[in-house]
């Protein structure tokens, strides 16, 4: 049990970090960016390609983060150029198209043979109850905490956060007020892309190196974000951690191991159905 919990910490940090990115993007750009994990995966593969060509890991990783940022900025540019006035459902559907495109491009550029990814944080940080905890775990947890705190400050304390929130809720009104929101929005997309790449750099070496299954990390990330109703950062953080721990515990059970990806999803579905049981109608009035 304790072993399961400890081994689930890294996954918890991953889900929480990606869930926080989703929550921040939903509040600031009114998009559930289903491509956010895939963007991170693209960054990881750029890193892998560069290390294989002989570059030192640090440089390659920085290039991977930059590639994630650039790719995400491209997605964001499409979003603000053509779908600035679209509703959340349309923008999310657009991100589905982007997800498909990114996965396909990643397969084209990097092939579909799994590769060995260099792990920057493979060293043991501690050993508890017979479980070796690598540096990736505290790094992911710290990253999640930083993301949560940073986003909270951006949203509540900065004029930029205020502008972006206004843009997410009423894009046209905000533009009419003379507030240029396109450039900050693209910069925000770039930042989330870079951060997603950072998260994936830490988690990809220990999880899997298949492009599709890494991109599907978006499912538990969405589940984490949904615990916070896509709007509360604390909910996304705690939801992500809880999901990771649950996954760790289930992985320790022989009977449930194969279905560990399915069980948290079912739990989330029940939570969602309960919290939104009064949402009988599509529009408030």
């Amino acid at each position: 049990m304790l072993q399961g919990l400890l081994s689930g910490l890294a996954a918890g940090g991953t889900f929480a970090a990606l869930g926080l990115l989703l929550t921040a993007m939903y509040r600031l750009t009114a998009t559930v960016n289903l491509a956010v994990a895939a963007i991170g995966v693209a960054g990881v593969y750029v890193m892998a390609a560069l290390t294989e060509s002989g570059l030192p890991y640090g440089v390659a990783a920085a290039a991977g983060v930059a590639a994630g940022a650039l790719l995400s900025a491209g997605c964001g540019a499409v979003m603000v150029r053509w779908f600035a006035a679209g509703d959340a459902q349309t923008r999310t559907a657009v991100s589905i198209a982007q997800l498909i495109g990114i996965i396909a491009l990643a397969y084209i550029l990097f092939g579909d043979t799994p590769r060995v990814l260099p792990n920057p944080a493979s060293g043991a940080a501690a050993e508890l109850a017979g479980v070796v905890i690598t540096w990736a775990t505290p790094a992911l947890l710290a990253l999640a905490a930083l993301l949560g705190g940073g986003t909270h400050l951006l949203l509540t304390r900065t004029p930029l956060g205020l502008r972006l929130r206004a843009m997410a809720e009423r894009p046209v009104t905000t533009e009419l007020l003379g507030i240029g929101t396109r450039r900050p929005a693209v910069v925000l997309w770039a930042a989330t892309g870079g951060l997603a790449a950072l998260v994936l750099l830490l988690v990809a070496p220990v999880r899997s190196s298949d492009i599709l299954s890494l991109s599907m990390l978006i499912v538990p990330a969405c589940a984490a974000a949904l615990v916070g109703g896509l709007t509360r950062l604390s909910g996304a953080l705690l939801g992500g951690l809880a999901l990771g721990l649950l996954e760790g515990v289930l992985a320790g059970s022989a009977a449930l191991r194969e279905y560990r990806d399915a069980v948290p999803f079912a739990a989330i579905l029940l939570i969602l159905m309960w919290t939104r049981r009064r949402e009988v109608w599509d529009a408030a009035r």
Binding site: Y26, V32, L34, V78, W82, F83, G86, D87, A88, Q89, T90, T92, A93, V94, I96, A97, Q98, L99, I100, G101, I103, A104, L105, Y107, I108, L212, M216, I218, V219, C222, A223, L226, L230, E258, Y259, D261, A262, F265, A266, I268, L269, L272, M273, R276, R277, E279, V280, W281, D282, A283, R285
Partner: protein, 575 residues
């Protein structure tokens, strides 16, 4: 449909069948296999056309439904159930239906982005389960056999075409029924669906169930085509791609689904010929879907719009205004509306709370049968909350009786069916319908062209074949009012019908409303800020302020009482 149209359609169908037969007989075997793939994925796209295209519910798990169909087929094959694919195919479709309903259940409360996430999660879950427990027969190397008559690739191709055509025809027929129209109304507004007397849960679940059935068919067809399927054929990536292709091609029309399937096969074959990685196909679909999103419609809609603009066989449509003979010059010949009850609506002790805020408190309201009753009050007085409470869109305390029947606990669509209709302040008239489709859908009774012309002729001048998306907001508003009364309800609650109308239109609406009780046998509760319209139409009026009834009586008396002047008109009482 006109006989000429029917003849054209029959001819087209016959020509299509002949063409298919020719294709099957002459094409090389490899191309027949590819064409079969195109048709099978066309069936899958049709399933998306139902749930996403028509009902507007994002579903990212269609490949999972198809997987259920394929799994069932493989299992029936292992059991050697007699009848072969002829029997297995419908069974496979049916097996997917419970899953469809299961995914539809969350959709009763989750919409848009939430539903997208849940369906994607469902696809991932089914993928995990399928990957761990392989398809029946795969471990023993048992392939899905085809019965005699379908064994050859060419025969199987024609069989798949037949299934595609059957699905297309069935969906086209359903599309014209109440059920099919309710999906399209649902896409625009759940509230409008319920207000027309159609239950939202039924509409959503039926869309998912039908969609899962069709997707299950495509899975079974794929199992029959490939003889052995594995979980990779149905991974979440397939679901996502199918969604993108459905959006790009416009899969809610059969030709769109076929086009999407054909494009998929064609692009992948071209890539293979030029030795370009297969994944470029998905890039094309992603860009195509983005393009469709910017246009707001897919290829099939664009094609249909272009065809409509062609000057082919455009017969002049009979306009109701040009055929005065159908107008009710002799009202006594029209079928008599049902007798009117003495009391249409009786509301007592009604209260609505939103958290700590009391929106309505102890409201009592009586609307006599066959009259137009006004309900006025300043903004925030609780008028719209009262409408929502009476018509069942907001939970409330107190009682609501409609001509003596207790409707207090009935859901909104049952109240609408019982004869309690409403219109909305917001524009909720579904834009994808024609005027005639919309009026038939809301009326819930058989309407002749004369009925339509009679209801509309002195309100709005509209040919019944006109598409609602081409109408301006004011016309839509009048159309909504006409639809509510054409249902011949006991009571029609009209929520600010004159908002946004011009002076002339408002006057026309007033005159029309004055005759409405006699023509449709309905009482009217008119919520309105335009006091001239209220004076011109209402026998009695109720004034609401801060959630309570301030005054009630004939307009002339009520508008002269000092409390009303103070509260509503903001005038200081000097006396």
């Amino acid at each position: 449909m006109r006989p000429a149209d029917r003849l054209v359609r029959a001819g087209l169908a016959a020509a299509g069948a002949l063409l298919l037969y020719g294709v099957a007989a002459t094409l090389p075997a490899y191309w027949v296999f590819l064409a079969t793939s195109a048709v099978v994925s066309g069936v899958l796209l049709q399933s998306l056309g139902v749930v996403a295209g028509r009902a507007g519910l994002v579903s990212l798990c269609q490949a999972a439904f198809a997987a259920i169909g394929a799994w069932t087929t493989a299992q029936l094959n292992v059991w050697a159930v007699p009848g072969g694919l002829w029997v297995w195919l419908p069974l496979a479709g049916l097996a997917a239906v419970p899953l469809g309903v299961l995914v539809g259940l969350p959709a009763l409360r989750l919409r848009g982005v939430h539903l997208a996430i849940v369906t994607l999660g469902f696809a991932a879950t089914v993928d995990v389960v399928l990957a761990t427990s392989s398809f029946p027969g795969v471990a023993q190397g048992l392939t899905v056999g085809r019965p005699a008559g379908l064994a050859a690739e060419r025969q199987y191709f024609l069989f798949c075409c037949g299934v595609f055509a059957l699905v297309a025809v069935a969906l086209a027929v359903v599309g014209r029924t109440r059920l099919g129209i309710s999906w399209r109304v649902l896409r625009e507004s759940e509230r409008a669906t319920a207000a027309a007397g159609t239950g939202v849960p039924g509409a959503k679940l039926s869309a998912f169930a039908v969609s899962a059935f069709v997707a299950g068919l495509s899975g079974a067809l794929l199992a029959g085509q490939l003889a052995m399927v594995v979980s990779r054929n149905f991974d979440p990536g397939q679901s996502l791609t199918a969604y993108a292709v459905a959006v790009m091609a416009g899969a809610h029309h059969a030709e769109g689904a076929l086009l999407g399937g054909a494009l998929g096969v064609l692009i992948s074959e071209l890539l293979r010929r030029f030795e370009i990685p297969q994944q470029w196909a998905n890039v094309v679909f992603a860009v195509g879907a983005l393009q469709a999103f910017t246009q707001g419609s897919g290829l099939s809609d664009a094609l249909r719009a272009r065809l409509r603009r062609l000057p082919l066989r455009r017969l002049p449509l009979p306009r109701p205004s040009e055929t005065p003979s159908t107008a009710p010059s002799s009202p006594d010949q029209a079928p008599l509306p049902p007798p009117q009850p003495a009391t249409a609506l009786q509301v007592s002790g009604l209260g609505v709370r939103f958290g700590q805020v009391t929106a309505l408190h102890q409201v009592t309201l009586t609307v006599p049968g066959g009259t137009v009753h006004g309900l006025v009050g300043p903004n925030g007085a609780g008028k719209s909350s009262l409408v929502d409470a009476i018509t069942g869109f907001v939970p409330c305390t107190g009682t609501v009786f409609l001509s003596g029947t207790d409707l207090t606990t009935a859901p909104a669509h049952r109240r609408a069916r019982a004869g309690l209709r409403r219109t909305f302040q917001q524009d909720r008239v579904p834009t994808t319908l024609t005027v005639e489709e919309y009026l038939r859908f809301t009326a819930r009774r058989h309407l002749t062209h004369e009925d339509l012309a009679e209801a509309l002729h002195d309100l709005v001048d509209l040919p019944p074949t006109h598409r609602i998306e081409e109408l301006d907001t004011g016309t839509r508003r009048l159309l909504e009012v006409a639809g509510a009364l054409l249902a011949r309800p006991v009571l029609a609650v009209l929520d600010e019908p004159a908002a946004g109308l011009g002076q002339a239109e408002t006057e026309r609406l007033g005159a029309w409303l004055n005759t409405a009780p006699a023509r449709f046998g309905a009482a009217v509760l008119l919520i309105e800020h335009d006091l001239d319209l209220v004076r011109a139409t209402c026998e009695r009026v109720t004034v609401l302020d801060f959630g309570t009834v301030l005054a009630e009586g004939p307009p002339a008396e009520v508008f002269a009482t000092p409390e009303v002047l103070r509260a509503y008109l903001g005038e200081e009482v000097t006396a």
